[in-house]
Symmetry: D2
Amino acid sequence: MPEGYIHRIRVRYADTDKMGVVYHGRYFEWFEAARTEMIRDGGMAYSELEAQGISLPVMEARCRYRRSVSYDELVRIRTWMGSVDRAKLVLHYEVMGETDDAVRVEATTVHCFMDGRGRAIRAPKEVLAFFKRMVERM
Amino acid sequence: MPEGYIHRIRVRYADTDKMGVVYHGRYFEWFEAARTEMIRDGGMAYSELEAQGISLPVMEARCRYRRSVSYDELVRIRTWMGSVDRAKLVLHYEVMGETDDAVRVEATTVHCFMDGRGRAIRAPKEVLAFFKRMVERM
Amino acid sequence: MPEGYIHRIRVRYADTDKMGVVYHGRYFEWFEAARTEMIRDGGMAYSELEAQGISLPVMEARCRYRRSVSYDELVRIRTWMGSVDRAKLVLHYEVMGETDDAVRVEATTVHCFMDGRGRAIRAPKEVLAFFKRMVERM
Amino acid sequence: MPEGYIHRIRVRYADTDKMGVVYHGRYFEWFEAARTEMIRDGGMAYSELEAQGISLPVMEARCRYRRSVSYDELVRIRTWMGSVDRAKLVLHYEVMGETDDAVRVEATTVHCFMDGRGRAIRAPKEVLAFFKRMVERM
């Protein structure tokens, strides 16, 4: 299993619900932040990709909630690339506490490549090459 | 005090925080829904206004939290117009339970008129006339 | 395929992101509202279930995004029960426009039964009977 | 004007709306994160305060939106204490870009002290002393 990229998040009050733990829908915002920072760490800002007219909308999301995450916890999100080809990009995520490796939440998102007019496209060569380098690096 | 427009909202789990009540920042989403429905009820969809290149961004927001609102409560949001002129629009809100009139939360939002390029503008005549009719109607 | 329960939602500005469409993580709040109203329609408020010390946390969520949903659209969420036994409850969702039946988003959530101390439990008899009646009714 | 505490936030897609800028209600989550980190930096975790049965609910919030904040911007939130006495705590916030000092958004939140049963209380001596030291330090 690849080492992946670690992004840390501190749980806000706004993230919690009346159960006292992070609301299940909130994790998707965290995964968004995690993959954006992973891509930036790889040498490309997602906002630059968008400036070139290319976006990576989420086509599919899956999430398993194993153990809850509480208010004010500092968590690590490990993100890694599953696969990439000209049609889609698959990313995986694991949420863990700062000091223990028990996986609280695990997730997968599948993205396509989209042009500025909102149409699915084949990934341009240099974009595909960038993501392939990221897969190898991990 | 004008009667205003009543919009009802059922509190979701997602609206609550670990205190077990609605998160203070969430009310602004409710006020957005309330004013949008009030304007629609007055005869104009906010989305049509946008299609004409006019938007009403929030310039200022004020909110007082008097009593909390709990999960699964059905609340009434009373919305009314404070004033309108060519430069700005002032709206007021009160959140009450379904069966009691105690005000839980009260708020004010101040909006300017903006064109499609993001510049503050004077309200076009017909837009101003629409909002003036709404003030009178209340 | 069962007819299910229809819950309507109007898209708020707060639901959208800079792509101009509903943010992918937001749908989970809609599904929460939809299943809560479905259960209420079946004769039980989820808040009453909680008052009895039983909750239905999400253990797993899957979502496929087929077509985007835009600001101010009125959408229908069709919700139905896939299965229920003493260990878990499976629910399915489809998001459609008000006037067309094209499925924009489809999702599944899997829930366990939890007691007031946060431990997974077997569903109490009357709770299981309630959900079984709902499956048959659909 | 006191120097205050600087907390940095990177704008997520989830923070934006279809105008392409941060949704006005979202800033309250940022202010929550900013004041929590300011208090932690002062030597006390808000979660510890809660463990002692004391919370600081927002009684009032005011916000002025001067200039918008865009996706992927790194912003600085400057937070400082306005005043504190046994009945309430007043905090101020300013949102600025990473490289320029133009104030985009400015806000104030007013908090009371609450016990574990949800009743407003006078601030306990050591809690008041902590916040007084923070005012002086700034």
